[in-house]
Symmetry: C2
Subunit: 434 residues, 2 copies
């Protein structure tokens, strides 16, 4: 088995026991074998099959993007600055109705290329034609939690077919790609799935022993509709439907009352905060300081490139650190280290991967990235955690490894054909817009 030794690097581990140091890290096969401050021990040097000089580089866990729709990268910039319903009904849905498996494959490949180049190593994806997203995950080398997001506003017949698809996808792909692919079960949202239909997803998640993922309380209008239609706000509604008896990740959760935050904490429900998308669509500002204060695991997602318009998780980290200070009036909320945790270790935890990825720690999977420090915006070398949260961008990422395998070297993709992907994505878009 290969054993890579990185020496002379700066490390930010996101492991509170040894958060940062100048030192070394050893990777054996797909896992981190050891790491520590100072010069690499003699034994590490003699055991290594490859030695990398980490001088001038900063190593940290790969980023975890906990909410997105990769294939929608094909619609990046197609429609912006519009009211939500006009954007959805006149632009997104008509274009998405034309999506074939081929579009999903190339759109997701485009997203995978962008994510790897900007330091994301694990992503959550909710869409249709999910076996094509799984293929992209397999080929790209990324780690992913994938889920068929089902909209249930259709006939009972169609509902059955879609649920069966979601279950079949889980049976076919959960644990695939050497364990890099996990599957979640997803009714799209409380406002797009009737309660009895959501119950069937909860049942399926129990049968398959899988976690659940759904959109919730992204806009005030959908919360009000939930109260009108079902008598409860979305948190209580989903709790009554038994969803929180499964490990659950909620995307957005912008509009929450105090008692809803308390219930999410009690049920150990995780939240994927998508600050850029929430701002762009004017959905509002999620109550992240209060969620964190209550003990809820809050991670970060880009949402799709159609409402972002990029997949650079460093932008979400920076936005999370900035936005809540300005809106709350308290400059001490979400300090730099907490924003970084949201993009790494909290992301891993929110998809049940706390013991797998999101930290640099012996025994965990070797999912990590290297950033070149030799740039004006990283000088002076005052505080790497501050620099990562406030000044780093995806373009600073030079190298990426997932499962011990290198996916990016000096900014070049090793597992994907970037030139072909850009051309095929453009071709797909030209057909979709037509």
């Amino acid at each position: 088995m290969t054993r890579l030794l990185i020496k002379n690097g700066a490390f930010i581990t996101m492991d509170e026991e040894q958060l940062q140091f100048q030192g070394w890290m050893a990777i054996e096969g797909s896992r981190i074998a050891g790491l520590g401050a100072g010069a690499a021990p003699e034994q590490e040097i003699s055991q290594a099959s490859e030695i990398m000089d980490g001088k001038g580089m900063l190593f940290m866990p790969g980023l975890v993007n906990t909410h997105g729709h990769a294939a929608m990268s094909l619609l990046r910039g197609m429609a912006d600055d519009l009211a939500l319903q006009e954007w959805l009904q006149n632009h997104m849905w008509p274009a998405e109705a034309k999506f074939t498996g081929d579009d999903v494959y190339w759109g997701s490949s485009l997203a995978a290329a962008e994510m790897i180049k900007s330091g994301t190593t694990t992503f959550v994806d909710m869409y249709d034609h999910m076996h094509r997203v799984a293929e992209v995950t397999e080929q790209s080398g990324l780690r992913a939690s994938l889920t068929r997001g089902v909209i249930g506003l259709c006939s009972e017949e169609e509902q059955k077919t879609k649920l069966a698809e979601a279950i079949q996808f889980a049976r076919d792909w959960h644990g695939a790609a050497e364990g890099r692919i996990n599957v979640m079960i997803s009714p799209h949202a409380p406002y797009t799935c009737p309660p009895d239909y959501i119950l069937k997803f909860v049942e399926a998640a129990h049968d398959l022993d899988l976690p659940m993922h759904t959109h919730m309380s992204e806009t005030l209008a959908e919360v009000e509709q939930n109260v009108r239609d079902y008598g409860y706000r979305p948190v209580e509604h989903l709790d009554r439907l038994g969803m929180f008896s499964r490990p659950t990740l909620l995307a957005h959760a912008v509009h929450l009352k105090d008692e809803e935050i308390a219930l999410l904490a009690e049920r150990k429900v995780a939240v994927s905060h998508n600050p850029v998308s929430n701002l762009k669509l004017a959905s509002g500002v999620a109550r992240v300081p209060e969620l964190l204060q209550a003990g809820v695991t809050v991670s970060l997602g880009t949402d799709s490139a159609a409402s972002n318009n990029n997949l650079d998780l460093f932008q979400e980290i920076t936005m999370a650190a900035l936005l809540h200070k300005g809106v709350s009036g308290d400059p001490t909320v979400i300090p730099a280290a907490e924003a970084l945790r949201m993009g790494t270790v909290y992301g891993a935890r929110s998809i049940g991967h706390g013991g797998v990825t999101g930290q640099l720690k012996a025994g965990l999977k070797a999912d990590f990235i290297a950033i070149s420090l030799n740039k004006p915006h990283f000088v002076p070398y005052t505080d790497y955690i501050s620099h990562l949260a406030y000044t780093a961008r995806g373009s600073d990422v030079a190298h990426v490894w997932v499962d011990g395998r290198q996916l990016l070297r000096h900014g070049q993709l090793l597992t994907l054909d970037e030139e072909r992907i850009l051309a095929e994505a453009e071709r797909c878009y030209q057909r979709l817009r037509g």
Copy 2:
């Protein structure tokens, strides 16, 4: 005189008469000689002394950063996530008290390197030891509006010395560096300069026929203090002191009442909006949609790297486009094109450079940048204006020209020694922290 012809490029001009096209642009000496859609005319080809193929590149006006303190880049990341007064009194001011001319020179050089690499071609700078910032401007090739920012909380003797310094700096440097340096007159803020001292700056600005620049209404506390101390909110206070009889640029202007917005519009006072700094210091969210609606020229500034923590104006453009949608609940405010105007043509106008820079237009100075489009985050090629506002980052900038002179080529600085600057800035910081 050299005549550069760029052909086959994508152009975003920020000139509403021909906002975007695929075509050519000619630069003669320091100015844009002509530009247009389609193939370059035969005459342009025969006149050119150099021809550049712009295929795969997007050309746009250089960005205008209308508020900052370049030398404070030395304090980037030194103290974050603190309450404002603790940050200022226990961290910034003690460090700044140690600043020598040498620190200002290397700190400003570090800022100049970062600004050029991220596409800024004109910057406003308010600090001390301004002749050293002027030297950096001269050497780097950047365009700048420079101003000695004077804090007047001192003896009358010191006040006199500082005012004399500000006047002397204007006499020595206004119009220098082939006209690339302009000077402004700056009492630091209404809360740091007594009214009778501000009056002297207004008088000096009239004598020298120069515009004024000051901080105003950044925090709610300073607005309340102004009312307590002088009986008026800052806008009326400065208006009564005659400041707005000069062309004036106000930094921040976060806390404004409707009648203050109306008065700023009436007096044609420009505002430099610094969204990232305002969020990070928890100052609040400026009423930018209302200011624009009232007809106020609103441009963008990074403020210093100590409260940002970078000088990437693309981040401010993106933040301006996102933040006000989320906070107002209206996804149509500050559309992509308006955010780009704030970072270019409105920036130029707000420092009296409307006829000089900020657009690609025949007769204007050749201050422009080229962005490589061949990247996943710019695909598909739906809408360049959207891509520039929502997905471009400073790191996408490949080439930069100011006054017709190339300052950056394929990401490499041509006028500054980057390696030396990073080393000297680090050395300065090590001394300052000691």
